[in-house]
Amino acid sequence: MSTTLQDTLKTLADGAAARAGRSDDEAHRATLDGLLGTVRRRRAVRHTGTAVAGASLVAALAVGGSQLTGGPRTRPGATGPGGLSQAQQLALVNSLGIECGKPFTLKMTDQPFRGPIATVDAARFTRGTDYAVAVGYYINGLDAATVLARYDMAAVMVRGGTVVGFAAGRPLPGSLEADDGTVAILRLRMPSLMNCSGPDTPTPDGLYEMYNVEGSIDDAGATQVTGVVGPLEVAVPDWATYAPQGDATPDVAPGDGTNASLRITDPSDALGMNSTGGGTYLLFTPPELDGKNLVVRFNADGSVPHDADGTVPLWTSSLGGPSDVYTAGGFTATWVPSPEGFKIMKAGATLAWYTTGRAPAPTATSTR
């Protein structure tokens, strides 16, 4: 046989390399951005010793305390997310090893899921009374419904290391938001977060942590945790305490300046019900864009691009598609220098305020 093992290996490697080089530059860039974000997060975790989602993963959103207090939305027997009753949700989170009043011991996934069946790719949080999460699953040609049916999702509220609230759900056929054959986006809406202390027990003010826990159902029907993302800082009471309904221009920046934070200050939902943060972008879903996203793209170092007059460029995009300059008018974005971020405005009213959580650039000083 004339073909040597060396020749064959080289041919195989060259073939794979050639195929890898066929995809377009934009796809490469998007992949690279994702990897860079992952590295930044892991470096941050190594550096601080804590798992902070921060700007590179998802925006820490101020979620209303009313979500945690339960109230009438948590009445026993009510059908919750994914068609589950409250009792079923409780059973599901218990199967993931999550119990009210017990320490939350699950660690943030060290390696983001990028395998052939699933990954926690992004999280979207619906403001107001709903909690929703959208997760991108790499399905690579599999039937999306088959893959997604193997997963559970849970949102877990933690304070002082102890589980104080949760919501859980299972994908339903209607949960599939998009499927391009490679990535399936699942949106799971969770109408309320259960309060471990009971629906009538007030939730103490303060900072909470929220984790997204993903579990898979094995062939035997058992559920095991396959991914944890978080924490996201959740403030109770939420911004609404400081910004009464109708006051669209609160003068307090969201967040504590160390984590990415987004505050929706518009009660009319002009920016849509969902916002998604990534390492290099933040997007909204304004109804007037008819299915397209309104996007702010960050600089490579996470800073906010802006003109000399403080104007932040806005873009539009469709899921998985390229970004175009937003030209329709209406929405504008203005850079805020400290804490660094931007406001999105319309007709003079602030609709949203985002802070990057980045440390300010060091000022040149001399000790001489």
């Binding site: 290996l9 990897l35 052939p116």
Partner: protein, 177 residues
């Protein structure tokens, strides 16, 4: 911008295809190869490596690819559990790859254990010595020779006798892995 970032960007943009080619020999398909490269990049650059230049970084990444492959890159068991659901990889259908002999070799490679396959790739593609392979994988020289011997014996069924110069350093030894 952090100093590691431009190095990682340069490596990814300029050497991605070559790294995937190398990883594909280990993983056996393009999808897994890409995953291996991504994981290796993350592993490599998540650690502080002051003064890292692209050339040295590539060596780190190649080593990380090998490690990730041998580790089963964490998802192997999950992947295997659902692999039967996958449609055949489009990559295996390309006309440039459809030669009976090459497919036979791929099949033969797929039948090797991960360590056997790693030894073959390092020896015959990376052109490393037995000692270098042993250091890369973290096993003894004797174990490398054993894995290579077993692998070559199995590949010979497809390839025919592997030229003598390829196996001159190989001595099959008995003992624990």
């Amino acid at each position: 911008m952090a100093s590691w970032q431009p190095v990682m960007e340069q490596l990814f943009l300029n050497r991605r295809a070559a790294l995937i080619g190398y990883a594909a020999l280990l993983a056996g398909n393009d999808h897994d190869a890409e995953d291996l490269v991504h994981e290796a990049l993350v592993r490599t650059f998540s650690r502080a490596r002051p003064g890292l230049v692209p050339e040295a970084a590539e060596a780190y990444v190649r080593r990380a690819i090998l490690s990730a492959y041998l580790d089963g890159y964490r998802k192997r068991k999950r992947w295997i559990s659902v692999r039967h659901l996958l449609v055949p990889s489009a990559a295996s259908d390309g006309p440039e790859r459809v030669t009976a002999q090459r497919l036979e070799i791929e099949t033969a490679l797929a039948g090797l254990s991960p360590r056997e396959r790693a030894c073959v790739v390092l020896r015959y593609y990376e052109d490393k010595t037995t000692r270098e392979i042993a250091e890369a994988i973290g096993i003894s020289d004797g174990a490398v020779k054993k894995y290579l011997g077993n692998a070559v014996r199995r590949l010979s069924v497809v390839l025919g006798p592997v030229p003598e110069r390829h196996i001159e350093a190989i001595t099959v030894v008995k003992g624990r892995d």
